[in-house]
C-alpha cells in the first residue's frame, strides 16, 4: 500500500473509496485512527495502520465502536486530528457516547466515517445511520464519487475544527469497495504535540474542562455550531448542480446514488431535460441552496438509499419556503417511485426517472431477457454460502448439533455476529435459532435461562466468537452468571476477527500494524466470573461431543471454549496438516448405513460426490487438510495421513 504515501501532488491512482478516504485523512495530517472491523469499512484502519510508522499515526483496533469513538475523542481533546471508522451498526453502538460528544464539542478535527451497506451485501440488516446525524445534532457529509471521498475527508477535518464539532462522513459499499481514478493532493508535515488543556473556566470550549453541563446552555452552543455548519454548506463546492437552467425534473441525490442518477439520465438521453442536484452536505441542509434548486423545476425526484432521509428533510424546507419555490410534485420513496428497501442501481434509477417523465425504460428485448433468465435458472446452480474447508465452526456446529439432538429436549443455540452466523444454514446444520447484533446471543440466552419458572425446559446455548466476546459479550455473560441463568456459553475461539478479514483483537498478541502487544485471555476472564470453564478442540469430534453432552445436563452458566484457529489464519493458510483420501471400495456411498453423510450432510467443499463410481472423493485443490471428515465417516473409508515436512 505504499502508493498511499506518494508525496507527489497531482499523482493519479485507481483506488478504492476506502483508500481515497485514507489518503484524504493522510493529507489532513491525521494522527490517531480507531475502529472496530466491519464490512465495508475495515480497509480504512488497515491501511492507516499500514502507513502508521511512516506517517506517525497511532492506529488501533478497538474492542468495540463505542470505545473506538472514545479513543478518537481523546486525541481530539489533546489537539490532534483523529478519525474513527465503522460500518452502519457501529454508529448504533457508539451513539450514546456520540450524543455527549455532540454536546461537549471537540477540539482537534474529529471525523467519524460510517460505511452503510444498503442491500445488506455483507450485513444482517440495512439500517441507515444518517438519521443519527439529525438525532444527535452532528453535521453529516456524503461524498458522491471517489475524488470526493478523498477531498471531502481532508476537508471535514478543517470543518470539524472550524465549528468545534465531530463530523460524520457517510460512505456506502458501492463507494467504499468500488474503485475509481483519484488525483492526490500534498502530504503535510507530521509535527504534532498532544496536550490536553483544562485550566480555564468550563465555559471555554478550547481550554476548559470538557463536560456537557449545564446541559441546556451546551445544547444552545451545539445548535449554534450546526447553524455555522449550515452557513458554510451554502457555498460548499461539494453541492453541485448539473443540467439545464429550468429542467423538467430536478433529481436530488447524494452518495453513490449520484452515479446512478447520472447514468440513468444518460441511459434515457435526458441530459438536456433533467437536472441533478448532488448534495454533499446532507445535514444540516443548506436551506437557501436547496430552496433555490427546488424553485427550478416543477418535479423533483429523490434518488437516495436506503430510507428517505434527504427526501423528508427537503420536504420540510419545501413546506417552509412554499411561496418561494412554487407548486412542486415530489417523487421518491414515500410515493413508491423508488423502493424503500434494498440498494439502488442505474436500472432502478432509470425506471424511476422514466416513470416520472412518462417514458419507458426497456434495456433489453423481452424475448432475450426471458431466454437469458431461464437459461441461468436451468443451467447455473446457485452457490450456497458455506464455511471454508477446514473451518473450525463446521466442526463446532457438528458437535453442538449432535449434542443437542441426542439430549433430545428441543435445545437450541442463540447466535451472534461473525462467520459463525452461517450456523443457521445447512452448512452449520441449522443449529442457530436466533441471530441479532453483537453480543446479543448471550444476552438473549441469559433471558431464556431464567424462564424455568414458567415451565421452560429446553436447554439453551449461546455461541460467540472471540472478537465478539471482547466487543459486547462480557456484560451479558456477567448478567447471566449473577442472575444464575441456566445456559451453556460456547466461545468459538478461532484466533481472529475472521469474517471481516482476520483483523486482530485483544485476545491476540498483535496490534493493527502487526507489532507485539500483550494478549488478554478470554478463558481466564470466564473463569474469573466463577463458572466452570472447559476448553475443547472441535476437531476432536468424539471427545467434544461427549463434553458438550455432559455440560448440557448441568445447571447454571457453563462455559466451553472451542479452540481451533481459522483456516485462513496466518498460521494455517496454505498449509495442510493431513493428506486426505477416500477408499472408494470401503465407501458405502448412497446405501443404507451411510447415504452420503459426508457430501450430503457434512458438506465440506473439499468432499465431492462422484456419481460415476458411487463414492465420495477428495478435491485436493480445495481440501484444507484438517482431517475432520475422517472422524465422521461411518465406514472408516476416509483416511488421513499426517504430512510431516
Amino acid at each position: 500500500m505504499s502508493y498511499l504515501l506518494d508525496e507527489r501532488e497531482g499523482s493519479e491512482y485507481l483506488i478504492m473509496g476506502n483508500d481515497a478516504i485514507v489518503r484524504g485523512a493522510l493529507e489532513a495530517g491525521v494522527a490517531v485512527a480507531s475502529a472496530y472491523p466491519g464490512t465495508p469499512s475495515s480497509e480504512i484502519i488497515e491501511n492507516l495502520a499500514g502507513v502508521s510508522k511512516e506517517r506517525g499515526i497511532y492506529a488501533e483496533w478497538s474492542v468495540n465502536e463505542k470505545v473506538a469513538v472514545e479513543v478518537a475523542f481523546a486525541a481530539s481533546l489533546a489537539g490532534l486530528r483523529s478519525i474513527c471508522a465503522m460500518k452502519q451498526y457501529g454508529v448504533n453502538v457508539a451513539s450514546d457516547f456520540l450524543l455527549h460528544v455532540a454536546l461537549s464539542g471537540t477540539r482537534g478535527g474529529m471525523v467519524l466515517v460510517h460505511c452503510d451497506d444498503p442491500g445488506a451485501l455483507s450485513s444482517i440488516n440495512e439500517g441507515e445511520s444518517r438519521h443519527f446525524a439529525r438525532m444527535l445534532e452532528l453535521p453529516l457529509v456524503e461524498p458522491g464519487d471517489f475524488q470526493e471521498a478523498k477531498d471531502m475527508t481532508a476537508w471535514t477535518f478543517e470543518l470539524s475544527e472550524e465549528i468545534g464539532s465531530c463530523v460524520m462522513l457517510r460512505s456506502v459499499t458501492r463507494l467504499s469497495h468500488a474503485s475509481g481514478n483519484v488525483r492526490f493532493g500534498p502530504l503535510p508535515s507530521i509535527e504534532r504535540k498532544a496536550s490536553f488543556r483544562f485550566e480555564a473556566m468550563p465555559d471555554d470550549p478550547r481550554t476548559g474542562p470538557v463536560i456537557t453541563m449545564p446541559v441546556v446552555r451546551r445544547h444552545e452552543e451545539l445548535q449554534r455550531r450546526l447553524r455555522r455548519a449550515a452557513q458554510i454548506f451554502e457555498s460548499s463546492p461539494f453541492n453541485t448542480y448539473t443540467g439545464p437552467e429550468s429542467p423538467e425534473v430536478c433529481i436530488i441525490t447524494s452518495s453513490a446514488c449520484n452515479f446512478y442518477s447520472r447514468e440513468a439520465t444518460a441511459l434515457l438521453g435526458l441530459e438536456d431535460r433533467v437536472g441533478i442536484l448532488k448534495l454533499g452536505t446532507t445535514w444540516p441542509l443548506p436551506v437557501g441552496l436547496v430552496a433555490r434548486h427546488l424553485a427550478r423545476a416543477p418535479k423533483v425526484l429523490f434518488v437516495e438509499e436506503v430510507l428517505p432521509f434527504i427526501e423528508e428533510n427537503v420536504k420540510v424546507i419545501a413546506a417552509e419556503r412554499a411561496s418561494e419555490i412554487g407548486p412542486t410534485l415530489f417523487y421518491g420513496k414515500n410515493d413508491g417511485t423508488i423502493p424503500m428497501i434494498g440498494e439502488l442501481n442505474p436500472d432502478i434509477a432509470a425506471r424511476a426517472l422514466a416513470r416520472v417523465m412518462g417514458m419507458k425504460y426497456e434495456p433489453l428485448e423481452a424475448a432475450y431477457r426471458t431466454t437469458a433468465l431461464r437459461t441461468a435458472e436451468e443451467m447455473a446452480p446457485p452457490r450456497d454460502l458455506t464455511f471454508c474447508p477446514g473451518c473450525p465452526h463446521r466442526a463446532s456446529f457438528w458437535g453442538l448439533h449432535h449434542a443437542l439432538t441426542l439430549d433430545n429436549r428441543r435445545g437450541f443455540v442463540c447466535g451472534d455476529i461473525g462467520c459463525y452466523t452461517l450456523g443457521f444454514l445447512p452448512c452449520g446444520f441449522n443449529v442457530m435459532k436466533t441471530s441479532h447484533s453483537m453480543g446479543s446471543g448471550i444476552g438473549i440466552a441469559s433471558g431464556f435461562g431464567k424462564l424455568k419458572g414458567f415451565g421452560f425446559d429446553q436447554p439453551v446455548a449461546a455461541v460467540c466468537g472471540d472478537s465478539t466476546f471482547f466487543h459486547a459479550a462480557i456484560p451479558a455473560l456477567i448478567n447471566a452468571v449473577h442472575n444464575q441463568a441456566d445456559l451453556l456459553f460456547v466461545l468459538l475461539d478461532n484466533s481472529g476477527t475472521a469474517m471481516t478479514g482476520f483483523q486482530p483483537h485483544p485476545g491476540l498478541p498483535l496490534d493493527a500494524a502487526g507489532a507485539a502487544l500483550p494478549a488478554v485471555d478470554a478463558a481466564s476472564i470466564c473463569s474469573a466470573l466463577g463458572v466452570p470453564v472447559v476448553t475443547a478442540d472441535p476437531f476432536n469430534v468424539e471427545e467434544t461431543r461427549e463434553i458438550l453432552l455432559d455440560l448440557l445436563g448441568r445447571k447454571g452458566v457453563r462455559v466451553i471454549v472451542m479452540k481451533q484457529a481459522c483456516a485462513l489464519s496466518p498460521e494455517k493458510k496454505g498449509k495442510k496438516k493431513f493428506a486426505m483420501q477416500v477408499d472408494a471400495e470401503a465407501c458405502r456411498g448412497a446405501a443404507c448405513g451411510c447415504n452420503r453423510l459426508c457430501t450430503r450432510i457434512f458438506r465440506c467443499p473439499g468432499l465431492v460426490w462422484n456419481a460415476s463410481i458411487e463414492a465420495a472423493c477428495i478435491d485436493e485443490v480445495i481440501c484444507a487438510g484438517c482431517g475432520v471428515c475422517a472422524s465422521i465417516c461411518p465406514a472408516g473409508a476416509i483416511r488421513r495421513e499426517e504430512i510431516t515436512t
Binding site: 493519479e12 465495508p40 433489453l364 447455473a380 452457490r383
Partner: protein
C-alpha cells in the same frame, strides 16, 4: 482497430468467478493498465460474505470522459470474462446482450449443492451451447490447467487477463502489464506473472472463437 482506443464509451467489462479465484486483483490490474493508458476507470465489487464460496463479480467501466457507476446497467456488458464457467451464464442472464463477447475458463468449481449430489452441474459443452445462444462470440481457455502447469494454480486469473489483452479489443499489452505489477506485486512474483500473462495472449490467439466473424 485503433491502437489506443476502446470500441465504445464507456466500455463495460465484467470479470466474474467464485470467491478466492483472484477476481478482485485481476480487475485492479486491468484497471491500473487502463488508467496508465489515460482512461477513467470505475470498478464495482462485492466482497465479505461472498468470499465464503459465493459468486463474485467485478464490474469495470472504462471511459475517456466520465466516471461511471460501479454497477453496469442491465444488458450492458460488452465483455464478460469468467474465471469459472457457470458464472458466465449467470452474469450473461442479467448483464449480457446479443453483442456481448464472452471469454471463459474451463475449470468448474462445484457449488456445495452440486458436491452434495443435490443438483447437477452442466457439462462444458452444455455451458458453451448456452452462452453461444446468448452472446455474439465465445472462447474457452484452459486457464487453470495452464496455471497448474506453471506451478501456481491461482495464476488462472492472470492467464485470463493475458487472454483479454490478446483479443486486442482493449489497449492492453505485456509492456503495460510489466509497468503495473511493479506497484501491485512483490519482485519475487514478477517473472511467473509475466509468463502467465504472455501464456494467456498465446492461448487466445490459438483458440477458436464461436462466431468469429463479428468481433
Amino acid at each position: 482497430m485503433k491502437a489506443m482506443d476502446i470500441p465504445r464509451d464507456p466500455y463495460n467489462l465484467i470479470i466474474t468467478g467464485v470467491g478466492g479465484q483472484g477476481n478482485v486483483i485481476a480487475s485492479r490490474m486491468i484497471g491500473d493498465m487502463m488508467v496508465r493508458a489515460g482512461y477513467r476507470v470505475t470498478i464495482g465489487e462485492t466482497f465479505g460474505v461472498s468470499q465464503r464460496g459465493g459468486s463474485v463479480m467485478s464490474h469495470m467501466r472504462i471511459s475517456h470522459t466520465s466516471v461511471w457507476s460501479p454497477q453496469i446497467p442491465e444488458g450492458r456488458a460488452d465483455m464478460i470474462v469468467a474465471l469459472e464457467p457457470i458464472e458466465a451464464i449467470r452474469v450473461m442472464s442479467y448483464y449480457g446482450n446479443p453483442n456481448t463477447v464472452v471469454l471463459s475458463n474451463t475449470r468448474p468449481i462445484y457449488p456445495v449443492g452440486a458436491i452434495a449430489g443435490e443438483m447437477t452441474y452442466p457439462s462444458l459443452d452444455e455451458i458453451r451451447a448456452c452462452i453461444e445462444r446468448l452472446a455474439r462470440s465465445v472462447a474457452f481457455i484452459n486457464a487453470t490447467e495452464e496455471a497448474v502447469r506453471l506451478g501456481v494454480a491461482i495464476l488462472g486469473n492472470v492467464i485470463m487477463m493475458g487472454a483479454i489483452a490478446g483479443t486486442g479489443i482493449l489497449p492492453l499489452n505485456i509492456e503495460r502489464f510489466k509497468e503495473i505489477i511493479i506497484k501491485r506485486l512483490p519482485a519475487s512474483q514478477h517473472e511467473v506473472n509475466i509468463t502467465a500473462f504472455s501464456r494467456g495472449i498465446e492461448l487466445i490467439t490459438n483458440t477458436a472463437w464461436t462466431h468469429p466473424s463479428a468481433r
